[in-house]
Every structure is written in C-alpha cells, then in structure tokens.
Symmetry: C2
Subunit: 466 residues, 2 copies
Amino acid sequence: MPLKDFSKQPLKIINLGLEAFKDDLQKQDIEVVQVDWQPPAVTDAAVLEKLSLHSDKIKAANDKVLDIIQKGSPVLLGLDIARKVIPGMHDDLILHAGPPITWDRMCGPMRGAVIGALIYEGRADNPEQAEKLAKSGTIKYAPCHEHSAVGPMAGIISPSMPVFIIHNEAFGNYAYCTQNEGLGKVLRYGAFSPEVIERLKWMETVMYPILDKAIRSLGKIDLKSLIAQALHMGDEVHNRNRAGTSLLFRQLAPAIMRTATNMEDAAKVLEFINGNDHFFLNLSMPASKAVLDAAANVPYSNIAITMARNGTDFGIRLSGTEEEWFTGPALVPDALYFPGYSKEDANPDIGDSAITETAGLGGFAIAAAPAIVQFVGGNVADAQKYTRLMYEITHGESRNYQIPGLDFRGTPLGIDVIKVIENNLTPFIDTGVAHKNPGVGQVGAGVVSAPLEPFIKALIGLSIRL
Amino acid sequence: MPLKDFSKQPLKIINLGLEAFKDDLQKQDIEVVQVDWQPPAVTDAAVLEKLSLHSDKIKAANDKVLDIIQKGSPVLLGLDIARKVIPGMHDDLILHAGPPITWDRMCGPMRGAVIGALIYEGRADNPEQAEKLAKSGTIKYAPCHEHSAVGPMAGIISPSMPVFIIHNEAFGNYAYCTQNEGLGKVLRYGAFSPEVIERLKWMETVMYPILDKAIRSLGKIDLKSLIAQALHMGDEVHNRNRAGTSLLFRQLAPAIMRTATNMEDAAKVLEFINGNDHFFLNLSMPASKAVLDAAANVPYSNIAITMARNGTDFGIRLSGTEEEWFTGPALVPDALYFPGYSKEDANPDIGDSAITETAGLGGFAIAAAPAIVQFVGGNVADAQKYTRLMYEITHGESRNYQIPGLDFRGTPLGIDVIKVIENNLTPFIDTGVAHKNPGVGQVGAGVVSAPLEPFIKALIGLSIRL
C-alpha cells in the first residue's frame, strides 16, 4: 500500500501554528483548518514498506472490521452490580479509564476518584486511610477496557457500583458503564467529598433498582436508534447529550411509573435525570464500546477499536494487534474554562469517552451539534471543517449515524492508522477537563487532538505481526 | 416611505416558473430560489403614496409592535374546559380555524370536524343528525382567533373540550388551544369515526385532569424557553415538534408522578405523549398567539399579527387595522403525500398553525429543522434559502429564537406587508394536508406560500385608516 501522493489531492491546507498564515489563506478562499503543531509523521521506512506488501489483506481486514461496526446493534438490557456482571471483577479490583497504569503514575483526578471509591466501598473512613490502602498493593487496578467496560473521565468502577448492561445483539457481546452522576462535584472528575459519596449511595440504593426494574419491564431499549435520532437533534453524544437524554427519558418515564413502588423516589429519579443532560453519555459510551469490541481481533486490520486516556497516557488498540496498548503522553485540552480556572489548572486529557470518536461520534460528529461550536471556534463552519477533516483518516462512513447539516452524510467511521500517519492528522476528540489536583472536579470542557505517538507505535506493532 | 430601489439591492433572483433558467443561474453561482409564480404585486399607486407620506409613523409603530413581540413571555399555567375559560364561549358556539366562515362555505375537513364535535358534545347521535344541526342556524361559528384561541387544521373547539391556558406574563393576556390528538384518524383533519370521539373523551376525562394537576403543581412551564431550546434541537415547532415534545415531557413526567392518583392512567398519558411528536404543536401555537395578540391594535403598524386559513379562505390581520380580516382564496399546498393520495385529494391550506410563521417560527425557521428538509427540496441549502428569503419581508429578527445552522442568527420576525408587496414575496408556511372530503383525515404534509391577495387588501385597509 503506497503512501498517498499528496500532489494528487485537492488543495487543502492544515495550518500548523501560525494564525496569520491561516488568515491569509482564508482571504484567498482556500479551505484551511487551524490545528496544533504536530511533529512530522516519521516512521521507519521498513514499516511502511512491509505494510504496503500486505495492502490487499489490510484492506480486506478493514472492510471486515467496518462491516462488523456497521452491523453492531447495541441495546440496553438493565443494570446490575459491577461485582456480579463485569467479567473478572473482584472485591479488591478497581477499574479505571485509559490504558493500564499504576498508582504511582496516576494523575490527581484519578487518584481522587480511587480515594472516593474506597470510601464509597467502606474500605476506608477518610481520604488518608483510602490513600494508604490505594497504594498498599492490596488494591489491584485494571483498565475498564480490559473488562468489557468504559467510564467517563477517571472512569472508576468499584465492585459495588451499579452498571448499565449493554448487549450487542448482532454479535452477542456485552459492555458495561456506571450511571452518570451529573455535574459539579462528582467522582469521575476526582471529587470525593461526603456529598459525592452520598450521591453515589443514593444512585446505588434508590436510582439503580428503579431504573433496572423499568428497563427490564420494557425488555430492552434500542440505543442505536436513540443515538441516530439524537444526532438529528443536535447531539454528538459526547459533549452534548441533551437529545439522547430526552429521548431515553421519554421511554423510561412511563415504565418507571408502572414498576416503581415508591412514587416520591421515582419522581426524584426522573428529576435527577431531567437535571442532567449528560445522563445519556454513560449509554452512548458503552453502546460504542459494545459495537467496537465485536470488531476486535481481525488480523491485518489497522483500524483503531480503542482510544482511551488515563490522564497520564493516551492509549490506542487496533483490531489487528490483539490486546496490545500503544501509548504516548496525554495532552492538555484546549478548553473553555469555568470562571476562576485556566489551562494551568487542567489535567491532561482523561477518560474512556473517546470511545465515541472511535465509533464515529463525538468530535467526529461535531458538525451535528451546533450548540457546542464554541468549543471549536464558535461557528458552524468550524465544526463542519473538523468533521470533514476526520473523513481523511477514516476507512468509511457510518450507515447508521448521520449529520443533518452535511445533508445527512454518514459520520466518519473507522480510524485508519495508516491514514493518520499519511496525513499527519490525529483524531479530534471532544472532552471535559478535570482539575489536575485530586478532590477538585471539573474546570472546563473543550477539544483535544490525539497525540501522534500511539499511532506511530501501533503501526510498528502491526507491521511486526505481518 | 418610497418603495425600495431594487437596483441597490444585492443580486438575488427569485425565479418564477422555469426550472431550466434556475439551473443556469445556479451554475453561475448566483443565489436563486425557485418559487411558484405569483401575479405581479399590483396595487393602487395612491395607496403606496399615502403610506409613504406616513412612513415615519409606520416605522415607529412597527418598532413598537416588534418590541412587544420580542418581550412576550408565554407560560403554560394549566388546562380548563373551553366553556369556562374562553372569552365569549357558549353552549351553541363552535370555534374554527382561519377567518370567519359560514357552514355553506366550509370545506370538507372543517365540516367533518364540526360533525365530530357535535357528536362529541352529545348534540347528535350520528353524522346525519350532526350535519342537520350544524346547518340549522342553532349552532354559531366564530374564528378561534377572535376568542383568544388557535387550533391546528380545522381548529375546532367545542364547549366541552379541555384547553391549555397560556399566559403572556409580560403583557397579561391569555391564549388557549386544545390538546393535540396525535396522528392518524383525528378530528382536526376532519375525521369523526367512533375511535376519534372515543379518544377525545379519554383526553377530556383522563388526560386533561392529570396534565392540569401536574402543570399546576409546577406553577408554570416556560414555553419561550422550551421553544428556544427546541430550535437548537432540530424543531421549527410547526411541522417538527419532537424536541419540544421531549423537553416538555421531561418537565411533566416527575410532576405527574407526584400528583396523579391512578398510576396506570398516568403511564398511559405519558405513553400517549411519547407516541405523538406533535404534542408540543398545540403549545407552540398558543404561545405564538399570546405573544402576537399583545401586539394588536398599534395604529399605523403594517405588521401581520394573524395569518390563518379555514380551508376555503386565507386571512390576515394587521396590528394597525384593528380586528379586520383581509382574505383571499386558500391555495393547495405542495406536499409529500401519503401512499395512495395525491394533490387531487388535498384540501386547500387550512389551520391556525400559520401563527407560528407569524411569530418567526415554522416555515420562517425551517433552516433550524434539517430533518424535514424533504418538504422543501431535500437538502439543507434549500431550507436555509427559504429562511433567508423571509428576512426580506420581515421587520426584524428574533432576539429569542435562533437558527443554529445560520450561526445562531435570530429567526425572521414581524411580517411587514409593505415588504411583501415590494418584493412580491409572500410568507412561506409549513403545513399538514387534509383530505378534501369530510371524515377522511390527513393525506400529507408540505409547504405553501401565502396568496398575495390578502396582503394587497391589507395595505389598502391600512391606507384607508391613515
């Protein structure tokens, strides 16, 4: 597979750094997108040569991967306690976002969330005790992604937490995710104050049983259909989930009314969801995970089926490279910061939520969500340019998810790592921003481009297997 | 006020008829929109001259009207029975959509809806009895619009029907509208079979008390905010109301849970709303009505504060011409027809729902609703062109309602009848299409341009008053 001849491509310039140059180009009506400077996409010539020898097999493998993703059919079946349903979960295990990491390398918000989880589990009475236990060696850590799960931001799943059960009906596999806690002081952003723990307990003892009963009474809730509709209603289901949350709410409410025994509790559950437009994120994520997991382990495929960050490292996994993680340092997102905070307070990029981009949603579908274009320059044309750029690095377009503002074109789908290297263009990811210290919480929301390093390593990793 | 000098305007061509000519222009990159042919906007030179003598007063009056509309603040307070709350309602009165009309001139679907209403009221046992009573002279007819009310399609409101109570908090006036019946065989499209009557009875005896109690427990529901949000989520709140219905549902459900006594009935009410994405139309309409009624009776203003159709006539009222209706024949909409139906089956344009366009929503905001662009040519650019055209005939832009795809520009607001005549361009209206015969129902949905005649007459009517 020879690298693309750039001279054959239509004139489009990705400007690296200097704003004035961009302005000049724009005056000349040349399509231009301002992106952060990236090192040149250098990689060993032998790697590229080896890959090009197998280009037919790679193409066929990628077609197969894309077909599996397109056919994926995620439905919500109900909830259960993590310990009971997540494969390999045990009392001393804590799952976290991103690639594998040890306590000593964990960032502030992830440490904060671990501390909170140990207090929540009754394993510690206060943060000091929790921290001691956390680094004692008794507690084991593993990525959510290695246990069929995903978690936003710190992504902590501890044994007692209730999790949504998502079933990929087309391929039979499952994915799991906690219930979304809402905004403000929340565990996923590293907060662990008493109000955070109290809310988690309410979510376990009140919300979880009510939701589980209601969902099971419906048999299932079709998440593929909800996501498709949400994209027609201004969501990209990563940083904007108002439509998804609304449509889910419409299905849940009558079912809750029929199945709940305490109507005051039931009303509070509905009010909690109504007060949290991000509630649906914890379903769009495992829906994406369930679909992508089914496409794992297709030899020769260079399509990324995982992108995830633990706040220290950014990691990806390819379909053709089994369970191996390829990592590089996580970057600090460009963001709109809450009053009183700046980029200096920000933790590097964190969370499994980049699974949405991996599935052709989130930043890849930002053109579907004009209400959040302030994250990408402020106008609709900016958002459309970002989405259009992502078609340059994907193997195809979604048959399920469309962008109304691009005349219902399918979203860019299937991150092709060779194209990432060829175009020196990494995936564009929507994200929330956590404070770098434990116990603080969210300080902003914005966008980030993935670092190049994991993609270069992944290509080498694939070439070794050929 | 001299008529605009067209040569000073940017080159934009409204093509009247010949498609090939349009195609040529498009190849030259000139903005062009295909519209139906209209007779030239001829009107008496003396009329225009008289208006131009008063141009300052007209401008000031229009500014005042627009300011009142911008400040309008419609909230939903609850429901009550029409007889008890609608001013002037009595046992022998039936309100209908559009300008005044007598039984002998009523179109098929309006007659069908009157027949259904008389059966619903217990005034007749069968359609034959109902028709006899309807034309006997005992039953009186009046426009909804003359009783602070609006109704979609036939717009029939009979004394026992529950109606939503909308309060314009900024100006103190009220507006009323029935609950939306859903799709299929429904009264507003002229159907009157037993299932139609049965549903209306359920809406009166089960849905109305449950909704009323829930809404009153909340104090009020802010419709201005819901409409603003719905426009960010792909609704234009006339032919698409999925987001508005969803956001309303989120507020209603917890309140219903707290106030309803029979949870099975309550669940059925939520399911009914969940099954009917047009539920919010019967709130976006009276919200528009309440806002526009406050702007009535500003002398000198040529801004239309009513556009309504009874299926025979299309009527408008201006702020500066008191209660007078200016009418012309209603046109048959261009539409997407349901399988088995064509334009030959269609009744001319009918319903008070054009109140949404009069308030800068509906067809004027079609660019906000890409999911229904198939009604206007199939792509997003078509929808944006229609919205952009409407800025040519409006006095200003909404400060409340925005179009995401046009970088959150305010919707075109305040139909200026002088501009309509100057540009020979009438308002563009989204609409449902009823079968022309009584008892059938909906056969399609589409768009229609208002006829020119009422606007010419209105300008004469205004000039007489100066």
